[in-house]
């Protein structure tokens, strides 16, 4: 994937439109909303600075998410937050139970599987884009996706089903 120059105004535009969605994605990957907000803000700040200095990005949103995920790993001290903390939106109990079950299942996945799964199923990114964002091979992404998907299906008692 080619790296292209991005202006700081484009970083601001991405923050305006995608910040909350990216925070949600990183929250599901790291388990902590507070940590995710810090990390995504930090990533946007770095992206802004990088853009301001003439740096390039293969995919801006992918870069922001990857830096944010790296940041959460860096500051994470093994204190996985319980999904569904006080700052989370009130919802009907059944929905909330399902959401907590999903996030608990995601939290149980190995780090790479967790990240790939969230990028694919929540951010709806393609395998090639995930591979480019994480700087790994597509085969690696497929492998992590396959394993993560299988684990989630087992933990959530979902049938794997046949491809359509």
């Amino acid at each position: 994937m080619n790296h292209v120059g991005v202006g700081s105004d484009e970083v601001e535009a991405l923050a305006r439109t995608e910040y909350e969605r990216l925070v949600r994605a990183v929250t599901m990957a790291c388990g902590s909303l507070t940590l995710a907000e810090d990390a995504v803000q930090e990533a946007f700040a770095r992206a802004w600075r990088r853009a301001d200095e003439g740096g390039t990005f293969s995919h801006l949103a992918g870069w922001v998410v990857t830096v944010a995920l790296n940041q959460t790993r860096r500051v994470h001290r093994g204190d996985s937050s319980v999904p569904g903390g006080p700052s989370e939106r009130h919802s009907p109990n059944s929905d909330r139970t399902e959401a907590i079950a999903l996030r608990t299942a995601v939290a149980a996945l190995p780090t790479r599987q967790r990240e790939v799964i969230v990028m694919h199923y929540f951010l709806d990114w393609s395998i090639s884009m995930i591979a480019a964002s994480l700087d790994v091979s597509e085969g690696n992404v497929k492998n992590a996706l396959f394993r993560g998907r299988r684990s989630l299906a087992a933990q959530l008692s979902l049938d794997e089903g046949a491809p359509r």
Partner: protein, 385 residues
């Protein structure tokens, strides 16, 4: 796309909708915009704070200040400065600490040099201690005191009492936390100067609990340049020029954290040198396959044969275990029950044949006396089977 894919996508969307960030995208974008003014005036951002957090901190301080003046005239409460605030930072309130990243390097004393690896050496001789008058070591690690001088040196201050080390001889302090305990330790010594030893608890290092993964360790990813690794970490890395015998092989590490992994980089040692391998040599830091430094052969085999261990199956040659009969003695001291210990280090990395080689993790190595660091200069360190 399968039915399961669709159901997972739906559940992810629903779960995501329940996560409610405190700030909106507009607020964050505005904070980024305000940064433009600071940049043009040459203000440098502190490496451990987000500019968004700093901008918001000022904003929150102003808002709280206005509210305090309006609602609580004469309130004696003053804004608190967080431990992360660099000197001269605008005081913030406790509320703003939510916006401050908590991942900071250990607060080892200024001038203290962090030693890395399982058996860092402290050399003392006529010309003084090396690497410095204060060294920081990991609590689970060891320290090796090597008397390189011509006279026997006596060191007092250890819990066990005074020790004497002959010329060209050495002593282990292992593990440091059992012998010394966390904190700074000062010694009296004669005729050579013994440095202070700062024992850093695991809880003080953001690097101490991260697992070694298939493609990296924490913010450090295989294939990154030194420059990229420094950007990801948010601070400088130290590159050791004489780390290994190969002319293009260097060891990089976080200078103020004794829990730093050793990043093996190939190149000229400059910013564009790339991370080829990552070594973790301290006990207690797990790999994705669950192998830790200090495990016995049986323990390694038990995990290696576990299906769940084969995370690197897709990578040809991944999960190769290799050891030789002649191990380095030092790591044996970490065995809790006197058993002979197998694992001296574990690592993830690529072969050195080229940048496209896939990474593989949990390749366990055992240090040997004959070839302790046979990387970067010769054939690949691991046989493929």
């Amino acid at each position: 796309m399968t039915d399961l894919d669709e159901r997972l996508s739906r559940r992810f969307r629903e779960a995501g909708d329940m996560i409610d960030p405190q700030l909106s995208g507009d607020e964050v974008a505005r904070s980024l915009g305000s940064r433009a003014l600071q940049t043009s005036s040459g203000v440098e951002r502190s490496k451990h704070r987000t500019l968004v957090g700093a901008g918001l901190a000022v904003f929150v301080v102003v808002v709280i200040g206005v509210l305090a003046l309006a609602l609580l005239p004469g309130d004696p409460h003053e804004p608190l400065t967080t431990p992360n605030d660099p000197p001269g930072t605008t005081p913030s309130t406790e509320a703003t600490t939510d916006f401050v990243p908590t991942g900071v390097t250990p607060r080892i004393p200024e001038g203290c040099v962090a030693l890395h690896g399982s058996d860092p050496w402290i050399t003392i001789h006529e010309n003084g201690p090396n690497p410095g008058l204060c060294v920081a070591i990991a609590a689970d690690g060891t320290a090796l005191i090597f008397n390189k001088g011509h006279d026997t040196v006596t060191i007092d201050g250890l819990p066990a009492g005074a020790i004497s080390i002959g010329s060209d001889d050495w002593r282990w302090i292992v593990p440091a936390v059992d012998h010394l305990g966390p904190g700074v330790h000062r010694f009296t010594s004669s005729p050579y100067v013994m440095p202070e030893i700062w024992v850093v608890p695991r809880s003080e290092s953001p690097l101490a609990t991260l697992p070694l993964e298939i493609e990296g360790f924490g913010p450090f990813r295989l294939g990154m340049t030194i420059q990229e690794a420094q950007a990801a970490w948010g601070g400088e890395l130290t590159v050791a020029e004489s780390f290994a015998p190969g002319p293009r092989c260097w060891g990089a590490s976080v200078p103020d954290d004794p829990y730093s992994p050793i990043l093996i980089v190939e190149g000229d040692g400059g910013p564009q040198s790339r991370i080829e391998q990552i070594w973790v040599e301290l006990p207690g830091q797990p790999s994705v396959g669950g192998i830790e430094v200090g495990m016995t052969e049986d323990e390694v085999r038990a995990r290696a044969m576990d299906a769940g261990y084969n995370l690197a199956q897709w990578a040809e040659g991944g999960n190769v275990l290799e050891w030789t009969d002649e191990g380095q003695a030092g790591i044996e001291l970490t065995a809790p029950d006197g058993q002979r210990v197998l694992v001296a280090a574990f690592l993830t990395g690529t072969e050195l044949s080229g940048p496209d080689a896939p990474p593989a993790s949990d390749r366990v190595r055992r240090l040997t006396v004959s070839s302790p660091n046979a990387f970067c200069s010769g054939p690949a360190p691991f046989s493929r089977s």
